[in-house]
Symmetry: C2
Subunit: 368 residues, 2 copies
């Protein structure tokens, strides 16, 4: 539908633009930084959900990919990814069965944080005659999933007794916004996360458990955690595009933000307001911007922010000098890129002001 | 993939369940209530985005449908809807062209709130040789789109001079959460909205403008606004399913909420917490629940609420007596059904505990 070579200014809106040179530079630079620390990068592909982009990450040196769902794993395996970690405590007979099938075609690791999860996965793998690598999820304070460090040994022991499973290591996820993170830097949090996990892995090894992988880190923390001895793998996702939130928090420079959402001004309800044709069904609203002292999106090259949204309207507060007219197109950096991408069916890769390649977001809408 | 007759308890999660008898009762009861007031019901189909469900609404007596985008209009027209109102000030050459084409195959009305919008639509319709009905959008305080009442006459006059356009009437939208609504009931707001619009229409008629339609109202206000003489058409959307927000605000009874999201408990991070396999990519988070004193979702038949979310995790606060185990399936009413439906590819219609029919959400992901 959208032909390569089309000027950005001719694109109908709203649409998601990916600056391909910036994306490729992010892929390269983060790979270099993580590799330099001696750890592996296993990017979380929930941010883009495009197998072809995952292959670019792998060609740059990624050790495999991270996904959140069996259905995502299936899409990426079909797209050529052969080393996949489902960083989620998957539960349910049908999901276990599909995971066990998938393990025929790729190296598959799965998160486990309960006896139910371990036994279910084991039964399915044993029935399929496949082997699934297991990473035990550790809860470092998110209080979301994972076992507390004190219970890791018991779960590792169970995994080692179960057929079809191979203990691969430990993983954790801790947002920099978890309760208790207040007032600490991403660097402090990343180092602490790495040290807690590396020391837990060491204790388990002393007890005889073959902990190969110690996997953790998000875009804010990954580069710091990577420097902790004993951390083997980092799983940032957002770094590939960056977003308004990551730029405001100093994690990524605005110059490196690779994804923007192009909208058209459809109304001017007040001298200091413009309404654009993207709202919560385009930008998403899962981050509560007020809590973070942010708005929903920041205009590119203009002092203007999406301040309120309804489903298809974004109401933009205009700063001094910003005076876009009805019909003008304005691009915005969304506050949270992962959930914005999840609302669209395609990413429009651009270079030098023109469309280079359109990527169908093949893993979008995969429920299970 | 999902066969009719499958018991709900066998469905993989997360998934969106529509109780078809409840949905059909909502369609019937709201149609009866609006018709009894002498007004027409033109439901906003953004809530379900399924042409087949729109046809059910039309068979029950709806006077046509409302959409927010040209791309949605195209999907519903292809699905058999022949009277469509795009309640949005569409801007852009390509959108105007497509609207003008669409007017060949259905009765099409479009919202206009600017000279740019009126002239663009006119040029496209004149070029295509079709006629587009125009409804001038009035801003009653949302400060989002629409012209203030005092500027309606000038815009109506322009529309009447332009080829390819036919002035059809006025429309407005005002959320019950707009700034200034505080402390007033939905009934008061609905009546006020109706009276403001009906009196504006009367003044315009006195000035010689053939205002046929006076269209307004949302699920909270529609039944009250419908009783105001001079209001010809109501456009509620959410009423077809209802949601946790509408039930908490007393707009719809919990017994009538027809859509729930079935999830599986995947972790139990604390005695009073359960984590389920639906987060912000399943429930959406566009409504800021804290501002409304609500959570993200309310469990069906259990004192439990989704209190925080990450993309694929929903952390549920359990009340006294709620103790779901890992692997248990729990259904939730989402806080805002329209944006939750927009995240999924299918609605699973159920009746008596079994799947009756799966509806692809054909207008989901339509950008432009």
């Amino acid at each position: 539908m959208i032909r390569p070579g089309t000027p950005i200014s001719d694109l109908d809106t709203p649409c998601l633009l990916v600056d391909l040179p910036k994306m490729d530079a992010n892929i390269r630079n983060w790979q270099t930084a993580i590799s330099a620390s001696g750890a592996k990068l296993r990017p979380h592909v929930k941010t883009h959900k495009v197998p072809e982009i995952a292959l670019r990450q792998q060609r740059a040196g990624a050790a495999g990919i991270t996904v959140a769902k069996v259905s995502e794993a299936e899409v990426f395996a079909a797209g050529g990814c052969d080393d996949i970690f489902i960083a989620y405590p998957i539960i349910g007979v049908e999901k276990w069965r599909r995971a066990a099938e998938l393990a025929r075609t790729c190296t598959l690791a799965v998160g486990v944080d309960s006896e139910v999860g371990a036994r279910g996965l084991s039964s399915a793998a044993a029935a399929a005659g496949t082997t699934i690598r297991v990473r035990v999820e550790i809860d470092l304070g998110m209080n979301r999933s994972g076992v507390p460090p004190a219970k890791a040994e018991a779960l590792c022991r169970l995994v080692m007794t179960l057929p079809g499973l191979e203990l691969d290591g430990l993983f954790t996820f801790r947002s920099v916004f978890f309760a208790g993170a207040e007032g600490r830097t991403a660097a402090d949090l990343g180092r602490e996360e790495g040290e807690l996990m590396a020391s837990l892995a060491d204790r388990l090894r002393v007890s005889g458990f073959p902990i190969r992988e110690v996997s953790l880190g998000s875009t804010p923390t990954a580069r710091y955690a990577a420097q902790v001895p004993g951390v083997t793998e980092l799983r940032p996702g957002t770094y590939i595009f960056g977003d308004y939130m990551m730029a405001e928090y100093g994690v990524i420079s605005y110059d490196d933000v690779a994804l923007s959402i192009l909208c058209t001004v459809v109304s001017r309800p007040a001298p200091d307001k413009a309404t654009v044709d993207g709202g919560s069904k385009t930008f998403s609203g899962d981050i509560v911007p007020a809590r973070l002292n942010l708005k929903y999106a920041r205009a590119v090259g203009m002092d203007a922010y999406v301040e309120s949204m309804s489903e298809e309207h974004g109401v933009v507060r205009l700063g001094p000098g910003a005076d876009p007219q009805i019909g003008d197109k304005v691009a915005f950096y969304p506050v949270h890129v992962c959930t914005a991408v999840n609302l669209s069916d395609e990413l429009i890769g651009v270079c030098d002001g023109k469309v280079e390649q359109v990527f169908p977001i093949l893993a979008r809408g995969k429920r299970t």
